[in-house]
Symmetry: C2
Subunit: 195 residues, 2 copies
Amino acid sequence: MADTPTLRERARRAARAEIAATAIRLFAENGFEATTVDQIVAAVGISRRSFFHYFGSKEDLVLGDVDALGESVRAALESRPEEESAWEAMRAALLVLRQVGGDPAEQLTLAGLHHEAPSLRARHLEKHLRWRALLAPEVQRRLGLPASPEPDPRAEAFVAAALACVDVAVDAWYRSGGKDDPERLFDEAVAALRG
Amino acid sequence: MADTPTLRERARRAARAEIAATAIRLFAENGFEATTVDQIVAAVGISRRSFFHYFGSKEDLVLGDVDALGESVRAALESRPEEESAWEAMRAALLVLRQVGGDPAEQLTLAGLHHEAPSLRARHLEKHLRWRALLAPEVQRRLGLPASPEPDPRAEAFVAAALACVDVAVDAWYRSGGKDDPERLFDEAVAALRG
DNA sequence: GCAAATCTTGCACCGAGTGCAAACATCTGC
DNA sequence: GCAGATGTTTGCACTCGGTGCAAGATTTGC
């Protein structure tokens, strides 16, 4: 299942992690927009060009591995029991998002960065678009809609709405300073739009 | 109500419209990303610097006046009869989006550009974030939620879901080559996520 | 130890966007 | 008609994120 990563691969992961950690510290201190890539590479001690070998964009430092995480959610969704409704299964699958990411304090920092920087919000929303495409087929199946080559807009709307609920829940959680319960906020959001 | 715009203001609007029209033609011919601002200003016959006096970004050429349109939707929502449910009122309010924008052919072109260019999609989603904040208070009231200084996440989720339904409907409409009925697609999307 | 694959780096370049200041046009009161 | 305030256009220099390329250092497999 999990084949051993080569030494190079491990080094690469470690380097990525260290760069991201340093960058996030700088972002927290000086703000996302105000921190330039040049400052980051200077702090880490690598060349500007190498940085862009590790991360495709400045925003990627904060966003994490979009595809891997999306794939985790998809796998979790797929492995939910068949009897569950689409909403139940989606709720359970989205819980894997809570396992990843460090301690609550860092999560709060990341949420604050999203709040502050428009370009970060924009990329975050693009990330959701990819997840939408990734999760839509399974939702489509669970909604009892016929399989189709093009994604069914109903399934896409479903996924988009669920992800929007996650977003508003996380945002409200951030605004509460980490005091509110994200799961409760999510459930309330879902309930509100289901009428 | 509508105070007469000054001559300067009229000239400004005309210039904006002409620049946007030229740009969209170029985008349709060569693609959004492949068309540079320099090409646009050369085609229009103004300086690069003046362009950025009219439009804050290249994406703004396609996105239109976000705030004005959002305000139209908000006003429409506010003027819906009190007896309507939140979903009914929102659906009716969103119909103002169909009045604006030129003929279907141009709408189709714009939808295609959104489909093609990631940066355009990103800005489009940011636009929705602003609309979300703008429309949330009225939805909050209509959902029977208590007024609050911070926006209620339930109202935000509601608006976000509604806008997501618009997006998937427009996208499916685009993929059908303009054949499908956007209103039907929207209604089906809403029905799917309400279970 | 050798050869191939991989990593890092520098360099030159592109495209979007901004701050500034000078030139130009336009509208006002007198 | 003139002077001055106000707005517009433009060029210039600059910042910042991001990319293509090629050469040199390093690691890996054998």
